[in-house]
């Protein structure tokens, strides 16, 4: 988790919601009968801008929605795609479910780990990639499958890993 200290430094306790994010969160709030419903989307909005959800954002989101910070934190820690620690510029989600397991997941994970020098839950020292496992990505006809940011790839052969990673500077 080295290389991300700049994120921590800029998002300490004095966290302020970006005005545009605040507006988007308030619009989201109006999509639901009660404001708490917007809290998952609010966490994702903050994460889109900062890469992760710092402590201060939990309080800021709670204030924007008029709910308790513990409610927001309870939600933030439940969902696997809400990151409560800094992550790299690109997040790699590797499908570890059954169809990919049958079609080469173990070799793909090992190739990623050795190429990046990290395991699941870790970030490369240059802050470029974070590696995470994910539930069945619903692309089982093309296993093994992974996502990098918003892009889904499959089947990913071990020999393609280097080129694929290179396309995410």
């Amino acid at each position: 988790m080295n290389g991300n200290s700049h994120l921590l430094a800029s998002d300490g306790d004095g966290f302020v919601l970006d005005p545009e994010d605040r507006r988007t969160i308030e619009q989201e709030r109006d999509h639901y009968e009660q404001p708490q419903a917007a809290c998952i989307e609010a966490l994702k909005i903050v994460q889109r801008r900062h890469g992760w959800v710092p402590d201060g954002a939990i309080v800021a989101i709670a204030e924007a929605l008029g709910i308790g910070p513990a409610e927001v934190e309870g939600v933030a820690t439940f969902y696997s795609l809400v990151f409560r620690q800094p992550v790299g510029r690109h997040v790699i989600l590797v499908c570890d479910s059954s169809s990919c397991f049958l079609t080469g997941y173990d070799a793909l994970r090992e190739a990623l780990s050795s190429r990046l020098g990290i395991g699941f839950g870790q970030t490369t020292s240059d802050g470029r990639f974070t590696l995470l496992p994910v539930c069945c990505l619903g692309a089982c006809d093309s296993g093994p499958v992974l996502m990098i940011d918003d892009d889904t790839y499959g089947p990913v052969a071990v020999e393609d890993v280097a080129d694929l990673l290179e396309s995410y500077p």
């Binding site: 009968e33 969902y79 079609t103 990505l137 619903g138 006809d141 499959g154």
Partner: protein
């Protein structure tokens, strides 16, 4: 770069498909691009909204659906018409919600993605009809966050439909008001459980709720709420257009369950993918369409509909893939998307992979699931390393029994128990090979002692 962006594909080309035989996929383009509003309407899309709204009462719609008996395609198999008939509705009751479960995460399942990415207007039309029948005022599409392409397609479709008057006030001059919003998730398989989905929609942790009350009585924000899977909903317009009898005869002699099904195949087969075929199509026909197993592989076992269904054998390939027939064989139809396992695959390893999934995805709410699943994983890992101890297999069987239906808060742990119990039943010798057989002078491997001094039995 040789690796491709993933694209979901159907195996029938357009000239093989007709609306009367392929009500779900007739709409799709051969190039796999999303069908926009213009093209959807040109194919007579939204005609059923015009035909039904204001011309048939909600009760009449529900009667047609009950007669058609569309069984829940998310895997539950419950009749959509019956579910809709149980939704509380009436003049003195608040209008509720129509919720589409698009949280497709069942291991081995990739069917709803096709409809969501390529024909989102079919889902919107279905939800408008569902909203009308259930007296809902608003619909949410609960989409898993990783389906980025589907989110784009749905958002654009909602905007198009709203601009054209298919959503909003007084739809098609019928006096019926209904709108739809897209809600994207942030991970966790458990969100696909219908009451956990409602909690997640409300911005809470996705723990399931106690039933009763059922969502149809008290769901999202305490209002009557209907939760249906994407594929289930997408059957509705054609049923209302052609009638229940037409739907029933789609499956012909193959099945008592009517309609078509999106069937799919993954694993070590030559041609993976999706087909829309009559309900009750035998698994063997799907394996044939997939071109058989990879060279040098033979079929060892298969899952009929995702990770929470029980393993079946090659001798079961002739069985009709419908809800009752697969249940009679001791498994579940589930999502109807097959996972085919080749003979070189260790069953202990595969079941370990499945149980790791269920253990990680447990919401942690009830004990048999929260503690039982990691325990099963621990035993399976020991067997996989050849470090099992006598009694481990019996303990796994006991755990599967203790996680069965009715013993946990929701269907998550019973789903985990099915592949575990069936794998032990059919491949017990492989599990037994994981038990260490020390020589006379070797030390028998031991589990750490538990608090009460028993070996490996801390939780009992």
């Amino acid at each position: 770069m040789t690796v491709n962006r993933y694209r979901c594909q159907l195996h029938h080309s357009a000239h093989e498909r007709r609306l009367e035989t392929h009500p779900l996929t007739w709409w799709l383009r051969d190039d796999g691009e999303c069908v926009g509003l213009g093209e959807y309407v040109a194919k007579d899309g939204y005609a059923v909204v015009r035909q039904v709204l204001g011309h048939q009462g909600p009760d009449e719609v529900i009667e047609t659906l009950k007669a058609a008996n569309i069984r829940g395609r998310g895997g539950g198999g419950f009749s959509a018409g019956v579910k809709w008939s149980l939704t509380l509705k009436g003049e003195n009751l608040p209008r509720g919600y129509l919720l589409c479960n698009a949280d497709e995460m069942e291991p081995g399942t990739f069917k709803d993605r096709l409809l969501l990415e390529q024909v989102p207007h079919l889902l919107l039309e279905s939800m408008i009809l569902g909203g009308y029948a259930n007296d809902s005022f608003y619909g949410y599409i609960f989409l898993r966050g990783e389906y980025v392409e589907a989110a784009r397609a749905i958002s654009r479709a909602i905007e198009e439909a709203r601009a054209a008057g298919w959503l909003g006030r007084d739809i098609a001059g019928s006096g019926f008001d209904f709108d739809i919003a897209l809600h994207t998730g942030a991970g966790r398989y458990i969100c696909g459980e219908e009451t956990a989905l409602i909690n997640s929609l409300e911005g809470q942790r996705a723990n399931p709720r106690a039933k009763p009350p059922f969502p149809g009585q008290s769901g999202a924000w305490g209002k009557p709420s209907v939760v249906n899977n994407v594929e289930t909903l997408c059957n509705v317009p054609a049923v209302l257009r052609f009638g229940a009898d037409w739907y029933q005869q789609l499956s012909g002699e193959r099945s008592d369950d009517g309609g078509t099904k999106l069937y799919g195949v993954s694993g070590k087969v030559r041609r993976t993918g999706l087909w829309e075929l009559p309900m009750g199509t035998p698994a063997g026909e799907l394996l044939d369409r997939a071109g058989g197993m990879h060279d040098g592989c033979t079929l060892k076992t298969w899952l009929p509909g995702g990770g929470s269904t029980g393993f079946l054998l090659p001798e079961h390939l002739d069985l009709a893939l419908d809800f009752n027939t697969v249940a009679q064989a001791g498994s579940r139809l589930g999502t109807g998307i097959l996972t085919l396992v080749a003979d070189d695959q260790s069953m202990v390893s595969l079941v370990r992979n499945l149980e790791e999934f269920f253990a990680r995805e447990s919401c942690g709410w009830c004990t048999p699931c929260r503690d039982g699943l990691p325990w099963a994983v621990k035993l399976l890992r020991a067997l996989e390393r050849g470090e099992g101890i006598p009694g481990d297999i019996e303990l796994l069987e006991e755990l599967a029994e203790d996680q069965g239906p009715g013993k946990t808060f929701c269907a998550h742990a019973p789903g985990a128990a099915m592949p575990l119990a069936s794998a032990i039943e059919y491949f017990r010798d492989e599990f037994e090979r994981g038990i260490a057989h020390p020589g006379k002078d070797d030390v028998m491997p031991e589990r750490p002692l538990s608090a009460n001094g028993e070996r490996g039995d801390a939780e009992r």
